[in-house]
């Protein structure tokens, strides 16, 4: 394609006015309880034939649960696996897909479900944009059909099991062990990080970005000095493939925060924790709040919203990173984030009990 044509095409695509798929409709959710999740999981499995069920279900163990990634289909993941766990949406009939989405909606909050679907929509847009110029035979695939749903272990109200929903820029890993629902580790990302659907601007991770800028700008000079790292950070430190690793905290300690600053920090953390159903996320937020004084906030990059900046929140029971990947003007059109719970990824604490 001549360069001038490609530039014109790029300008057209940059408007974000074409190629965006219709947003998913959220199925009516059951309450976010373990029994509700079990019922939704069994209802989904009941729609599958034997071959599909065998693909969608796996044992829940240390080898299976770590198979997730930020990467698109067609690429080996950080843990070496070449395909995600489970059955992808493209291989489901409409009723099966509806049951799969109902399961996801049951386990996540309304906001969490919407965020996940907006990430999927962004990837569908990426597929629409990239497919025409993709090299023949290239294995990489984006788009809505490439998101996988899997159930690890037997859905149970008492024994541990797990639901994974993942594809490019999304790895929702929810482990349920009795009443304990644990979202960690979960990866969210977006490319494009903003697009329009029917004239409405969609930013799947916009609130995460905006609340973080609100917080860094709410800090006083001394706090900012401690929060801002003296070096650039170009990616997640503990992204996919780094399970079980911990880094020492850096930045400013929330013990120095005013009540107003603490409120903004909690709102920022809730952007990740709140992906999970309301009851579980409220309990998790309470736990995080109890350790807030020992929670650190670190920042690298400009402090003016609209420019790319890395940040990290690290406390006794929470670890969050947000890292722009360097695409688009001001490096803000491609984002990766990670949510972890130190010593409690995959509900390790409940398993120890």
């Amino acid at each position: 394609m001549p360069l001038s044509t490609r530039v014109l095409l790029a300008v057209f695509l940059a408007s974000g006015a074409i190629g965006a798929p219709a947003a998913f409709q959220r199925p009516t959710p059951s309450a976010g309880t373990t029994t509700g999740a079990v019922a939704a999981a069994n209802a989904f499995l009941a729609t599958l034939d034997a071959a599909q069920r065998s693909k969608a279900t796996l044992e829940f163990n240390e080898k299976t649960r770590v198979v997730w990634s930020n990467l698109p289909s067609g690429m080996p993941m950080q843990v070496g696996a070449t395909e995600r766990n489970g059955l992808k949406l493209a291989d489901m009939t409409p009723p099966q897909e509806k049951a799969a989405l109902a399961l996801i909606a049951t386990i996540l909050s309304r906001e969490g479900y919407q965020k996940a679907m907006e990430i999927v929509d962004a990837d569908q847009l990426l597929e629409t944009r990239s497919a025409p110029t993709r090299k023949p035979g290239a294995p990489i695939r984006f788009g809505r059909g490439e998101y996988y749903v899997s159930i690890l272990g037997k859905p149970s109200a008492t024994e541990p099991w797990m639901m994974q929903f993942g594809g490019h820029h999304l790895a929702i890993n929810v482990t349920m062990a009795g009443n304990a629902h644990v979202l960690a580790p979960t990866h969210t990302g977006a490319q494009p990080a903003s697009y329009t659907v029917a004239g409405k601007l969609i930013r799947p991770l916009g609130d995460e970005n905006d609340r973080a800028f609100e917080l860094i700008n709410a800090l006083n000079a001394e706090q900012q000095k401690q929060a801002i790292l003296g070096y650039e950070v170009r990616n997640l430190v503990l992204g996919p493939g780094t399970d079980g690793k911990t880094i020492p905290p850096e930045g400013v300690r929330a013990a120095t925060f005013t009540p107003a600053q603490r409120t903004v920090l909690l709102a920022l953390i809730r952007e990740w924790v709140g992906i999970l159903d309301d009851q579980a996320s409220a309990a998790k937020m309470k736990e995080i709040e109890s350790g807030l004084a020992e929670t650190y906030f670190a920042w690298a990059g400009a402090t003016t919203n609209g420019r790319g900046a890395y940040f990290r929140v690290q406390g006794p029971s929470v670890f969050i990173e947000y890292a722009p990947q360097g695409a688009g003007e001001n490096n803000i059109d491609h984002i990766h984030t990670i949510y972890r719970e130190p010593a409690n990824d995959y509900a390790a604490r409940a398993a120890r009990r």
Binding site: R6, V7, A10, L13, F142, V233, V237, P248, G328
Partner: protein, 219 residues
């Protein structure tokens, strides 16, 4: 001109290189692990699309389109030779323990990560120590990340980390406590646990006996 530049960025983000990670940079992410007898380093090296061919040329030295294990090892050792790792001012010899190479196509797409694992033997006694890591591998095109990992040994405590603005130079100070201190603490905790359990058992026994007395009285 600004609009054209923005359009070009979008073009890069939406054309052949739809993953749109940084195209002209070699991302080198290093993690440093501390133990009493060893210092381990993991380096993840991800070349961007526009510099991948140069990295592939260093890996596939005979240009046969495949990376043999000897070629992979050779590249791993060359990366290590560009890393200066020192403990308390003395350079540590790092040994390549493994290297994972992605497919050449993955690297050409800007999505392949070379994963290098290396370690050096050290002997650290109780007290404060300083580790320095300076990465001189391909500085002209590279961006760096370097982090200490929290040690598994509770007797090792990282007290400070510092880096230059590019994270090419890294320093970490850490304290090591004597192993016997750990044993004493463990023994202390164990003793406290036994005492606590015995106390609980006595209290339970006392409550049960009181309950029996009440029951007998009622009867």
């Amino acid at each position: 001109m600004k609009a054209l530049a923005a359009a070009l960025v979008v073009l890069l983000a939406t054309g052949d290189d739809a993953l749109a990670h940084r195209l002209d940079e070699y991302l080198q992410a290093t993690r440093v692990s501390f133990a009493r007898d060893r210092l381990a380093i993991d380096v993840d090296l991800t070349p961007g699309v526009s510099i991948a061919s140069g990295v592939i040329a260093m890996l596939d030295t005979n240009a046969d389109g495949a990376v043999a294990s000897a070629e992979a090892g050779g590249y791993g050792r060359s990366v290590l030779s560009d890393l200066r790792v020192s403990l308390d001012g003395n350079r540590i010899g790092m040994t390549l323990e493994g290297i994972d190479i992605p497919t050449l196509d993955e690297m050409r797409n800007g999505t392949g990560t070379i994963r290098l694992h290396a370690a050096g033997r050290v002997e650290v006694g109780a007290g404060r120590h300083l580790v320095e890591v300076i990465n001189n591998h391909r500085p002209e095109t590279s961006v760096y990340m370097v982090n200490a990992l929290v040690p598994e040994d509770s007797g090792i405590d990282i007290v400070s980390q510092s880096r230059d603005p590019r994270q090419r130079e890294f320093r970490a100070e850490y304290d090591v406590t004597s192993e016997w201190v750990g044993y004493v603490m463990l023994l202390g905790m164990g003793t406290a646990g036994v005492v606590f359990a015995a106390k609980r058992r006595n209290e339970k026994r006392k409550t049960n006996s009181e309950k029996r007395i009440i029951k007998t009285t009622n009867e």
